[in-house]
């Protein structure tokens, strides 16, 4: 059983919801990322999604675009991201880490080389935003053969046939994008999320985390009531943006921001 699976099944066993924060590696500077990851765990993170910066993040809103630009000023590469996870693993062998990004940096380095290094570095899963399941026939088995989970997105537009095809290739968990839009969008329609989650669960027993549009304890609680986990990204990254010139305050800030969502989720059971 992978670290992601055991984490999520332990949470499920005690009726708790997964809190999954996202930050972009290298933002505001590569030297801060590992410290921020530990702060996220201290704030109640169950799994960390670590964004791999890309020059052309076409599915991301302005907040994460700017985070990528800040990280790329310092040339934060895919290899650097793996090194950060390895550093994080020195003192945390429990919290799963998922690398989330776009395909080109991985293809440039080569899938085998990437999977080997990711595995050695203690990465648990990979989410590639622009890798559709149709384009993954060779990709998914290869990633799994290295013991890495391949996490896929589902969207409001996903049909029954697509949900089924995606669930067949996915492992770890599924990430449901709560709205038609980019990361950092504001509106969250909990009724449509609830309905779509019912549809998804007819096709799969995998845990489903929901992201996009979760900004605070209130929206986390709403989504947590119907999903297996909540992903929060832009709300954290905008704090990093705001305090980029005084990064020493960020660990405590992110920790307390996340702790509020943790408390709201724990209040559900």
């Amino acid at each position: 059983m992978s670290r992601i699976e055991s984490t999520l099944s332990a949470l499920k066993a005690r009726g708790a919801k997964a809190l999954i924060p996202f930050i972009t590696a290298g933002d505001p500077h590569p030297s801060h990322t590992v410290g921020l990851m530990h702060a996220l765990v201290a704030g109640g993170a169950d799994i960390i999604e670590l964004g791999v910066p890309f020059s052309d993040p076409m599915a991301d809103g302005p907040t994460i675009q700017l985070a990528c630009e800040r990280a790329l000023i310092h040339n934060t590469s895919l290899w650097n991201c793996c090194a950060m996870v390895a550093e994080f693993r020195k003192t945390d062998s429990r919290t799963p880490v998922v690398l989330m990004g776009y395909l080109n940096p991985i293809e440039t380095r080569g899938l085998d080389a990437f999977c080997t290094l990711a595995r050695e570095s203690g990465v648990d899963g990979v989410l590639i935003v622009d890798l559709a399941v149709e384009e993954a026939p060779e990709f998914a088995p290869k990633v799994r053969s290295f013991g890495l989970d391949l996490i896929f997105l589902l969207a409001p537009t996903s049909s029954d046939a697509r949900i089924e095809a995606i669930a067949r290739e996915a492992s770890g968990y599924l990430y449901y994008v709560s709205l038609k839009g980019v990361t950092g969008s504001a509106s969250l329609d909990i009724d449509s999320v609830t309905a779509k989650l019912e549809q998804i669960r007819r096709h799969t027993a995998l845990p489903v985390a929901v992201g996009f549009g979760i900004r605070d304890a209130e929206s986390a609680a709403k989504v947590g009531a119907v999903a297996d986990g909540v992903v929060v990204g832009s709300a954290l990254v905008s704090q990093i943006e705001k305090h980029q010139s005084t990064p020493e305050v960020l660990p405590d800030l992110l920790k307390s921001q996340l702790a509020q969502m943790r408390a709201a989720l724990d209040a559900l059971n």
Binding site: F54, S55, D56, P57, M58, A59, D60, G61, P62, Q65, E69, L72, N75, S77, L78, W79, Y102, L103, N104, P105, I106, E107, T108, R109, V129, D130, L131, A132, E134, E135, F152, L153, L154, A155, P156, T157, S158, S159, R162, I166, V177, K180, G181, V182, S185
Partner: protein, 400 residues
């Protein structure tokens, strides 16, 4: 593999093409593909499109014998496919007329587009005005500045032009922003992509709508010359005018083809926009193709005097045609393109856009290597009115 059957059912040209987008867009792309496959064989849709191409765009465009240029260059006979004479002044309208008809049939009320030089933006705004559709055009902030006449044209036509400040502030960033708009407004919005890139089915349908150029060249060269040309030359940014000319003639092995990329300051300087000449396979904007990227897979900034060629990727069909050796991909520098711009203007009385000036510059190198009874067709994909400010500025001339 029979070339004419590409792309395959999954949108692949050999290893290139495909559909690399976030999940939200997968189903809308599948719907678009299904609608297009149905409409393209629908006689009523074909008739509507043909009528628009004839009466609104002004097709067919002439195949013009550039006799003075031929004499000056002293080799093969130069013919210009006059796409610059189309309504709005470039080949881009062939595609926007087609996609706007698709949008109408799909019941979409709003179209969005990305643009580099502004020609595709103008062509989109034009057809939106004619069909009464709302139109939003994304344009890199740097391009807004260097192509201001086209920005004003779009506004006159009722389009909203949104300058894109992210990344390198050029065409690639405009494409990112248009994709973000589409993912957000997918219910009522049709994304009119301006080149043969993007996720399947765009490279196929943009090619099909531009292939009228190559079909006309076949008919015209047979009527005017009694045979097919020996060589075709077209500039390649994303590659829509080139594929439009090449595609119908691919089956004729005796016709040589040259795609001319933007060499900028010279390939050796690294300051260029020539992914086929100096890039490597990668994934950008929804398809696998040749891209300009660094060792970490980050897309790198491009440079060209021509905003329309200033793009780090290229249509996947071109990537395939390069690998199988059917088309020769070459490059010319900014300076060579500028020289060709002046030469065509002075010798033939035709002011070309900076994009096809690259094709003219390469034809100048090619012509003397061929016999006088041989024929080169150059796709003159757009007129140069939009570029006079750029050229004047570069040459230190104040127009105001």
């Amino acid at each position: 593999m029979i070339y004419e059957n590409l792309p395959d059912a999954r949108g692949h040209f050999g290893p290139y093409g495909g559909r690399f987008v976030a999940e939200t867009l997968m189903e809308p792309l599948r719907e678009l593909e299904a609608a297009y496959n149905m409409l393209k064989v629908d006689p009523a849709f074909r008739a509507e499109l043909d009528k628009d191409l004839a009466l609104y765009v002004g097709r067919p465009s002439p195949l013009y014998p550039a006799e003075r240029l031929t004499k000056k260059w002293g080799g093969a006979q130069i013919f210009l496919k006059r796409e610059d004479l189309n309504h709005t002044g470039a080949h881009k309208i062939n595609n926007t007329v087609g996609q706007a008809l698709l949008a109408k049939h799909l019941g979409k009320t709003r179209i969005i587009a990305e643009t580099g030089a502004g020609q595709h933006g103008v062509a989109s705004a034009t057809i939106a005005a004619r069909l009464g559709l709302k139109c939003v055009v994304y344009m890199g902030a740097d391009d807004v500045e260097r192509q201001s006449p086209n920005v004003y044209r779009m506004k006159l036509l009722g389009a909203e032009v949104i300058p894109v400040q992210s990344g390198t502030k050029t065409l690639k960033d405009a494409l990112n922003e248009a994709l973000r708009d589409w993912v957000t407004n997918v219910d009522d919005t049709f994304y009119v992509i301006g080149t043969v890139a993007g996720p399947h089915p765009y490279p196929m349908l943009v090619r099909d709508f531009n292939a009228v150029v190559g079909r006309e060249v076949i008919t015209q060269s047979q009527n005017q010359l009694g045979r097919l040309p020996d060589a075709l030359v077209a500039c390649v940014g994303g590659g829509s005018n080139a594929i439009g000319l090449f595609h119908p003639l691919i089956q004729y092995d005796e016709v040589k083809m040259y795609g001319v990329e933007a060499g900028g300051d010279g390939i050796e300087t690294g300051r260029h926009a020539a992914p086929l000449s100096a890039g490597k396979p990668g994934v950008l904007h929804g398809n696998r193709t040749y891209v300009m990227a660094d060792d970490n897979g980050q897309i790198i900034g491009t440079h060209s005097i021509s905003a329309g060629l200033d793009y780090p990727g290229v249509g996947p069909e071109h990537a395939w045609l390069k690998d199988i050796g059917r088309v020769n991909y070459v490059s010319v520098t900014d300076d060579e393109a500028l020289e060709a711009f002046h030469e065509l203007t002075r010798v033939e009385g035709i002011i070309p856009a900076l994009e096809p000036s690259h094709a003219i510059a390469y034809a100048k190198k090619l012509a003397p290597t061929m016999a006088k009874d041989q024929i080169i067709v150059v796709n003159l994909s757009g007129r140069g009115d939009k570029d006079i400010f750029t050229i004047a500025k570069r040459e230190g001339i104040s127009l105001l």
